[in-house]
């Protein structure tokens, strides 16, 4: 998609709002003033990138060996690799969430879908203690888990696109019922997996790097190509900015929304496989707990507004990495992990205030006032 097209769409963003909002150009101007003329600062990935680099710097400052990597047991070993490996499920879920949020939706059922997919995979692989026997062949188990996750996504999409429910409520249904279904599959127990080939998904290494990283990379690359090399990205933005106008203009809005939720479901399913393979078990009640909130946070941190429309896949990946690095920093600094939630809360408050045109306008006024007399001579 060309930059001009994207800009022309973003220029009309204000039409999507009903309220008396500050029009986007003013907001942009306020943001530009912060940049102080630096071209880089105007790029919308600037703030997420700076945040990530700051976090990495903090980690390095407190732990000198943070950036250190070494080759051990046939693969790369180090804190950065660890962060990437742990962030893979969150990256996947965030990518799906980005597409849903871009269509003006939200998917709060991803945590439950993670639990369902993990439960299905664990049940089909079975709890044989020998370690080399599975109940069903492993590819079949993986396909079944992903199939169920796809069905979950389609169910959400149908409720939103066909029935016309509000996205938060449509996905709330699956969020509530999903954990019940996951517990139904696992029989209320935590299924431990002993089948060793399955562990490769979440803790195996390919070419010296974690295999989960490659899965996340492939999904990201395919999605990125689909939204930048085809008209798909443009259509999704159009639906998010003004669904009615997009439909009138001939965009198949309903199908796109359905596809976005289905994709989000599959992403959650893959994340479920990675998580269950990494911890070698499936827990219907706790797998993917609060993952939906982390994913929404990652998408928001990456600069995608919750009001839909313009989205950034790279931003969401950076957002997910920020969250994982933050978690890592909190653990490695020896701060009690309980503070994690408070830090996250403060970050969310700060990010959403910075994204609010009203807040930026007020800050701009506050900053202009003292400098105004000085400018005059």
């Amino acid at each position: 998609m060309s930059e001009e097209l994207r800009d022309s769409i973003e220029g009309h963003r204000g039409t999507g709002f009903a309220g008396p909002l500050v029009s986007p150009p003013e907001g942009e101007a306020a943001a530009g003033r912060f940049g102080g003329g630096l071209h880089f600062m105007r790029h919308r990935l600037a703030w997420p990138l700076i945040t990530l680099l700051l976090l990495l710097a903090v980690n390095t400052a407190f732990n000198a060996s943070f950036l250190h990597m070494e080759w051990r047991d046939g693969h790369l070993y180090g804190s950065l690799i660890d962060i990437l490996n742990r962030a893979a499920p969150l990256v996947l879920v965030s990518l799906g969430m980005t597409m849903v949020i871009a269509t003006r939706g939200i998917d709060i059922s991803v945590g439950a879908v993670v639990a369902i997919a993990a439960a299905v995979a664990a049940w089909m692989i079975g709890g044989s203690v020998t370690g080399s026997v599975s109940r069903f062949p492993m590819p079949l188990a993986i396909l079944a888990a992903l199939g169920i996750a796809l069905l979950c996504g389609l169910w959400n999409g149908l409720l939103v696109a066909r029935v016309g429910m509000q996205p938060i409520i449509a996905t709330l249904i699956l969020m509530v019922a999903g954990r019940g279904i996951a517990q139904l599959i696992t029989g209320g127990q935590i299924i431990t997996i002993y089948y060793s080939p399955y562990f490769f998904l979440g803790s195996g290494y390919l070419l010296g790097l974690p295999f989960s990283l490659f899965i996340a990379l492939v999904v990201f690359a395919l999605l990125y190509l689909a939204v930048t090399r085809t008209a798909l990205g443009l259509f999704v933005q159009a639906v998010g900015i003004n669904p009615t106008a997009a439909r009138v203009a001939g965009v198949q809005a309903r199908r796109l929304v359905l596809a976005a939720y289905a994709f989000s479901g599959v992403c959650a399913g893959i994340a479920g496989l990675l998580i269950s393979s990494n911890v070698k078990s499936a827990d219907g009640n706790n797998a993917g707990q609060l993952l939906e909130l982390d994913a929404i946070l990652a998408v928001t941190l990456g600069g995608t507004a919750l009001t839909g429309g313009r989205f950034s896949l790279v931003g969401s990946v950076i957002g997910a990495l920020i969250i994982q690095t933050l978690t890592y920093a909190i653990y490695s600094l020896g701060v009690p992990p309980e503070i994690n939630l408070v830090v996250k809360a403060v970050v969310v408050f700060a990010v959403m205030l910075l994204q609010s045109p009203e807040f930026r306008a007020e800050i701009a006024i506050l900053m202009r006032r003292p400098t105004a007399p000085g400018v005059r001579p």
Binding site: A18, G19, L21, I106, L159, V163, G164, M165, Q166, I168, I169, A170, L172, I173, L174, M175, V176, A177, G178, R179, G180, I181, Q183, L184, G188, G284, L293, I296, T300, L306, T307, P336, E338, I339, N340, L341, V342, V343, K344, A345, V346, V348, F349, M352, L353, S356, P357, E358, F359
Partner: protein, 344 residues
């Protein structure tokens, strides 16, 4: 008091339609509420037929006793949803209230008479802060209250990671106090508070300027603004009210559990939203009844009671049944919304 007791038996409906008018032309806007109440009566009847000992006053009063905190939280949530917003922080504010109460009473030796007003004030201020952010900076309620949820849960863990049990005499006395009604059936203090909150909320929603403004803002914010209604004050007001209700529910929860713990009331926001939806309140705002929320909570309660009476069904069936109920009611609301749009 008797009117509340007879409600679960399905006799006294908490809305005032003229009987003749209701019989001749039933207003479709009462349909979700009517479906909820009929379903509740049907479930109560089914339980009474299937299980011996189910049909007793105490079983039904226990629905109030065991869900008192949920009723209070859901009442606050009803106002937020009526105004067109949502509050995800309620469960964690309940947890924070239990934690602060327990820490102050047990570790710092404060008197409960000082602690309870303090925690109520704290919850109210917390709600007002979120309402201020939502209203002043036009932020999305979903994200603001989500951050509020993280914050309140995090603060719980900052106080203590472990559960603090309460041994203070006043708390244990209130927790064990039962108010006898008749034939040995009784209510707890928490249930009494819930009933009072409910009655006040029904009055506030239908007979005060604040309540009418909440409906107006939820119906169409722009119109409400053009009508000269105090929209901004009301928006902050509903989140403040929800914060107060959560804190009050936290106090009742402290009496119920006699402990403070950061993992108390996990997922209560979902139960509260489910109860409000099942009670017939539209999530798009502007349509619904506080009294419906009572039946939403009672419905969740009776599902749990039925499952525990059955004994062979596992606990996770509760979640699945609640999910199915949510689906049915949302579908019903959509169908109704479509029909009124085509007819008008």
């Amino acid at each position: 008091m008797s009117s509340v007791v007879t409600k679960p038996m399905g006799e006294a409906l908490p809305r005032p339609p003229a009987p003749a008018a209701a019989a001749s032309r039933f207003n479709p806007k009462y349909l979700p509420l009517a479906v909820t109440i009929s379903l509740f009566v049907a479930m109560a009847t089914m339980g009474s037929v299937l299980y011996s000992g189910f049909f007793s006053a105490q079983v039904f009063l226990n629905l109030l006793v065991d869900n008192a905190f949920l009723i209070i939280v859901a009442v606050g949530m009803t106002f937020v949803i009526l105004s067109g917003g949502i509050d995800l922080s309620v469960g964690s504010v309940v947890a924070l209230t239990t934690m602060v109460s327990a820490a102050l009473v047990e570790h710092h030796g404060w008197h409960p008479a000082a602690v309870i007003p303090l925690v109520l004030l704290m919850g109210t201020a917390f709600g007002a802060f979120m309402g201020f952010l939502i209203e002043r900076f036009r932020l999305q309620p979903f994200i603001v209250t989500l951050a509020g949820m993280f914050l309140a849960r995090g603060l719980c863990y900052l106080i203590s990671v472990d559960s603090i049990s309460i041994t203070n005499e006043l708390y244990t006395d209130i927790s064990q106090l039962r108010i006898p009604l008749w034939e040995g059936a009784s209510l707890s203090v928490g249930a009494m508070i819930a009933v009072v909150v409910l009655l006040v909320a029904v009055f506030a929603a239908h007979c005060t300027p604040f309540g009418r403004t909440v409906y107006a803002v939820g119906g169409h914010e722009q119109s409400a603004l053009l009508m000269g209604l105090p929209v901004r004050r009301t928006l902050v007001g509903v989140y403040t009210l929800s914060g107060f209700c959560s804190a009050l529910a936290g106090v009742v929860f402290t009496f119920y559990m006699l402990s403070g713990y950061g993992l108390h009331a996990v997922g209560m926001e979902l139960d509260a939203i489910a109860a409000v939806v099942i009670g017939g309140t539209l999530l798009s705002g502007g349509v619904g009844y506080v009294a419906g929320t009572l039946f939403g909570v009672l419905m969740l309660g009776i599902i749990q009671t039925l499952i525990s009476f059955d004994g062979t069904l596992s606990s996770w069936w509760t979640r699945i049944v609640v999910g199915v109920l949510l689906f049915v009611f949302c579908l019903l609301q959509r169908l109704l919304a479509n029909r009124t749009r085509t007819s008008s």
